[in-house]
């Protein structure tokens, strides 16, 4: 079973620029999560999708962050405009619908805002 794919692996941008991250979940996984992991901290949930619908985006800074999951498969997370404090690893995870327990993470995209 192929894992969760994310790209790019690394991105360096200047503050106020925009950036987008892409995630391809494990085939058949209806639930997709985006997490933000700041250096030295645990992952923090940004947004959760069930198929192509948003289940929870209560911790997403909606003035600058947006996410979509067209057709219920791939997802993109965008930041516009970026701030210095957005420097972090952005992790995508997926799981089957209705599953509890742990879910599978991708390797993440490491964003540096300068």
């Amino acid at each position: 079973e192929a894992g969760v794919a994310q790209s790019p692996r690394y991105k360096i941008i200047e503050k106020r620029q925009s950036v987008a991250f892409w995630c391809n979940p494990i085939s058949g996984h209806a639930t997709l999560y985006w997490y933000q992991q700041i250096l030295g901290q645990g992952p923090k949930l940004l947004i959760q999708f069930q198929n192509n619908g948003v289940v929870d985006d209560s911790q997403l800074p909606k003035d600058r962050f947006s996410a979509e999951r067209l057709k219920g498969v791939d997802s993109t997370l965008k930041i516009q405009p970026a701030k210095l404090e957005d420097s972090a690893v952005y992790l995508c995870a997926s799981t089957r619908q209705g599953m509890t327990g742990g879910y599978t993470f991708g390797s993440g995209t490491r964003l540096t805002v300068v």
Partner: protein, 114 residues
């Protein structure tokens, strides 16, 4: 008070030592308890998963949950240099919207010295 508390370390032990990692939590709604291992520049990898109080063993790893004290532990026996990583505890539960989510601790950075 944060929902999940975890001592970030760092923790340095000699090869062969027994390692004890711990987390406390405050939210009684958490029903599932996990440990993830995260190597540098990689995504978190599920190591142990349990949903009941008591012990669960897998090779050199033992996960312990005490729901009455809201306390979970991970023990690593005969630690190896390859165990050097950050260990994240994660608690699974259902949000107010009824969706399943994981809440993570900050992670404990472990170094096993040959």
């Amino acid at each position: 008070q944060k929902e999940v508390e975890q001592d970030p370390g760092p923790l340095s032990v000699p090869e062969g030592a027994i390692v004890s990692l711990n987390c406390t939590y405050s939210n009684s709604a958490f029903q599932y308890f996990m440990w993830y291992r995260q190597y540098s520049r990689k995504g978190p990898e599920l190591l142990m998963y349990t949903y009941s109080s008591g012990n669960k063993e897998d090779g050199r790893f033992t996960a312990q949950v005490d729901k009455s004290s809201k306390y979970i532990s991970l023990f690593i026996r005969d630690s190896q240099p390859s165990d050097s990583a950050t260990y994240l505890c994660a608690m699974g539960g259902f949000s107010g919207a009824g969706s399943y989510q994981l809440t993570f601790g900050k992670g404990t950075k472990l170094s096993v010295i040959p």
